[in-house]
Amino acid sequence: MTTQELDTLIDKAFQGDRASIGRLLTYIERSPLDASRILNKVMGGEGGGHVIGVTGIPGSGKSTLISKLISRYKEQGLRIAVVAIDPTSPLSKGALLGDRIRMQEHATDPRVFIRSVPTRGVKGGLSFSGVAMIEVFDKLGFDKIIVESIGVGQTDIDIMNLAHTILVVTAPGMGDEIQALKAGIMEIGDIYVLNKSDKPEANRTYAYLDFALETGEIGSEKLKWRPKLIKTSAALGQGIDELVKAVEEHLEFIKEYGIYSEKISARRRYMVRLLAEKLFTEKLEEIDEEIDIANRDIYLEAIKLINKVVSQLG
């Protein structure tokens, strides 16, 4: 792609041409070089996009809930982008991207743009391109940028920390899962959502979560924000108003405490780090053959390898 072609594409994307936006995102996915050229053009300054991370227990209704949030934000006249992350099969390298199914009712809305992103082997979560996409959506003027992650692993936690507001979604009767996740994502939420509250066991789980929050067993107070617990039924559209309200409260809170821009800087730093990792590992794999195992000092050999990678990348 020539610079001129790229400029035209970016221009068209900024004029709101959706096919151009779609294509722009593809360039970001396909080549780090193109991605950085695109980001060069669009980055800088502070976007107005509120990044909402949605994580939680698999199958707890994250996608369904996001679909309901989209409906509400649409009513408010906002523009919404969704980055939906699904795992890539480690065996075939293929992926089936299924989050979208639950949001398809919004597919044709000009204010909504949904993009599925496979993890492509990045353990547990969002790859470089995923974060870069957030940046692009931000610059394109989307008001809410919602990221659905797969809800497992350390990377997931890292990514979520880049969102302005983190929702952790659970569902009734998932006690075991909640226990298992306690150490991980159960700590990072700004808002805890007990979805599927239409189910009979909901009250018990609610009481449990409420107690856990109260005692600090889950969630942790960040500055002065006390994590909230909201009961929803995405299926029946209940509790969504309360959820939207809590999200707005959190947004106001972080703006007031200056965390808002801090998060953006952290996000951008993380993006660069992810790109560095990506470039490094890819090159490393390329020169795998050249690793000298005759050399007994593996530390030295490793350092040599790093230098080799660096010199070749440079």
Binding site: T64, L96, G98, D99, R102, D198, S233, A235
Partner: protein
């Protein structure tokens, strides 16, 4: 106690079998090695070369088989079976507009048919009106379009609804279509006790296979059971539900899965009705079933026999049913549409014949045989006639209908019947452990099992481990004449426009206040969890449309989007 074999006999057979395995068999094997490493049924059950009394050594005759018309009904629900009456040859087909359907029904009645069958188009099947944007291009394509009571009135114009029975293949919108049917009959002056027919009304299999679901599982089941309860109490001649394995099988399940999931659905319905406070013997005799008959001949026969035995046991032992009729598994069968191929289509006649034979040997109450051109178009009249003739030849020429359950006592068939039952119980146990079929469906359990099975089957075919004539063996470079016969021409665009226009006028003309009130009442009843049938009847009479009634219910019940399963 009536053990079939005594220990002494078994011992002798066992010795002889060992000797046979050592002496006779190897000789034969050296000359004719086996064609395959293993032989397996569609359900992946491994089949041995020879079956003997040893394979059913503990069989107790009365516990496992009994006599025809007696518990556990393995051999049939009636003592005489087809010696008294041949199964019902029920064939159905779809046709465009309400007017066309009316003409067609009248034609059928003139030719002596009294059991009518209505196939609906897709918009009707998923409960949206003909003028909904989603319906565009589909109105009147696969059946008749019904959006309001006006359509129903046109369909039955000049037909005495007290003298016919009507089978309606409809699921989530079943309460609405039944209400329209009843209201139309009422207008004709037909009393409730003369309104007869069937609604399929089986929501759980929609989640598992057919996928014309609308509401989430719990309210879907609740609504369907409203139909059952209301029919049992108001329409003594109506069969309110047909618990269907057919679609499960067509979606690629194995025979065992079809059997297990269908029975598990039945269990869920029975539980629901009992929990409502109904007496099991009040509704159980009105439950009926619908199965597929596929090409793996003996497995299908065994499946039907096992089904009867399992259901009788469940009704008697789990639910304490007392009436004999409550224990009967009555079923309709259709031959397997998925077993037919577009390649060398005449072969489909033979497939259908074998499948029909299995259904008859399995003791079906009624049968639909597919037309040979089904894989690629709406059946031609000629093909439909051949399909019917297939049944007639089986009934009147072959003699298979002259004795009851002729395969009973075959070591293989009895072993296979036991085996299929055993495997089906395993599934049912697993579903019970999850808390029943509603829970299982929400977890995507049966969906996933079926997807895996159909994927496995497809792979076996592609890798040449399973043969389909004309597809992966004896393939011809053909382009047969028959496939070029033009389609049954329905003027889709015109039907759609006419339906839209009719709806527009109806919406303009109707009494707005009464219409609005009826929907409000319906909504309130749904919120309170009452039986909504009387309210739907009222709404239908107030000219609320199918789509409006379904939308009202969606507001209360929500809608279902299935968990992604591949």
């Amino acid at each position: 106690m009536a053990r079939l074999f005594n220990e002494e006999t078994l011992k002798i057979i066992e010795e002889r079998l060992k000797k046979w395995e050592k002496e006779t068999l190897p000789k034969s094997l050296s000359k004719y090695p086996l064609r395959q490493d293993s032989f397996r049924t569609h359900s992946n059950i491994e089949v041995k070369g020879v079956y003997t009394p040893l394979d059913i050594r503990n069989m107790d005759y009365f516990e496992k088989l009994g006599l025809p018309g007696e518990y556990p009904f393995t051999r049939g629900i009636h003592a005489t079976m087809y010696r008294g009456r041949i199964w019902t040859m029920r064939m159905f087909s779809g046709y465009g507009s309400a007017e066309d359907t009316n003409k067609r029904l009248k034609f059928l009645i003139e030719h002596g048919e009294t059991g009518l069958s209505l196939a609906f188009d897709f918009p009707t099947l998923v409960g949206i009106d003909a003028d909904d944007p989603m319906a565009s291009g589909e109105v009147g394509v696969c059946g008749v379009s019904v959006s309001s009571i006006e359509d129903m009135e046109i369909i039955f114009d000049g037909i005495n609804m007290g003298e016919i029975t009507t089978n309606m293949t409809i699921n989530p919108p079943a309460p609405v279509l039944l209400a329209m049917y009843v209201a139309t009959a009422e207008k004709q002056g037909v009393p409730y006790d003369r309104i007869g027919g069937t609604t399929q009304n089986d929501p759980l299999k929609e989640f598992i296979a057919q996928k014309s679901y609308v509401f989430p599982p719990e309210p879907a089941v609740k609504l369907a059971m409203d139909v059952v309860e209301w029919s049992v109490r108001n329409l003594p001649k109506w069969n309110p539900i047909s618990i269907s394995g057919y679609h499960i099988r067509e979606a690629g399940s194995t025979a065992v899965q079809e059997l297990a999931f269908t029975i598990a659905n039945g269990i869920e319905y029975v539980r629901h009705l009992i929990n409502r406070g109904m007496d099991v013997d009040e509704f159980a005799p009105r439950l009926s079933f619908f199965f597929d008959s596929h090409i793996n001949f003996f497995e299908e026969i065994a499946k039907f026999r096992a089904a009867r035995r399992m259901w009788a046991k469940i009704m008697k032992e789990w639910f304490n049913a007392k009436k004999e009729r409550s224990l009967w598994l009555r079923f309709h069968t259709q031959t397997a549409g998925v077993s037919l191929t577009a390649q060398q289509p005449y072969n489909n006649i033979i497939r259908t014949t074998i499948e029909a034979l299995a259904a008859v040997l399995g003791g079906t109450q009624s049968l639909h045989t597919n037309a040979l051109d089904e894989p690629f178009r709406v059946p031609s009249e000629f093909a439909a006639k051949l399909a019917l003739r297939t049944q007639q030849i089986i009934a009147f020429e072959t003699g298979v209908a002259d004795t009851v359950d002729p395969l009973a006592g075959s070591y293989y068939v009895e072993w296979l019947t036991d085996k299929i039952e055993e495997e089906a119980w395993k599934y049912i146990d697993r579903i019970e452990m999850m808390g029943g079929m509603i829970e299982a469906v929400k977890r995507g359990y049966p969906q996933r099992e079926i997807t895996d099975a159909s994927f496995r089957f497809q792979k076996e075919v592609e890798e040449g481990r399973r043969y389909i004539v004309g597809v992966n063996i004896f393939v011809e470079e053909e382009d047969e004449e028959i496939r070029n016969v033009p389609l049954l021409d329905i003027n889709q665009k015109e039907i759609e426009m006419r339906q839209r226009e009719r709806l527009r006028r109806l919406r303009e003309r109707r009494d707005k206040a009464r219409w609005e009130r009826s929907l409000k009442n319906l909504k309130r009843a749904a919120e309170k969890g009452e039986n909504v049938m009387p309210y739907i009847l009222q709404a239908v009479k107030s000219y609320a449309t199918l789509g409006e009634i379904m939308s009202t219910l969606k507001e209360v019940y929500g809608i279902w989007v299935e968990p992604p399963i591949y």
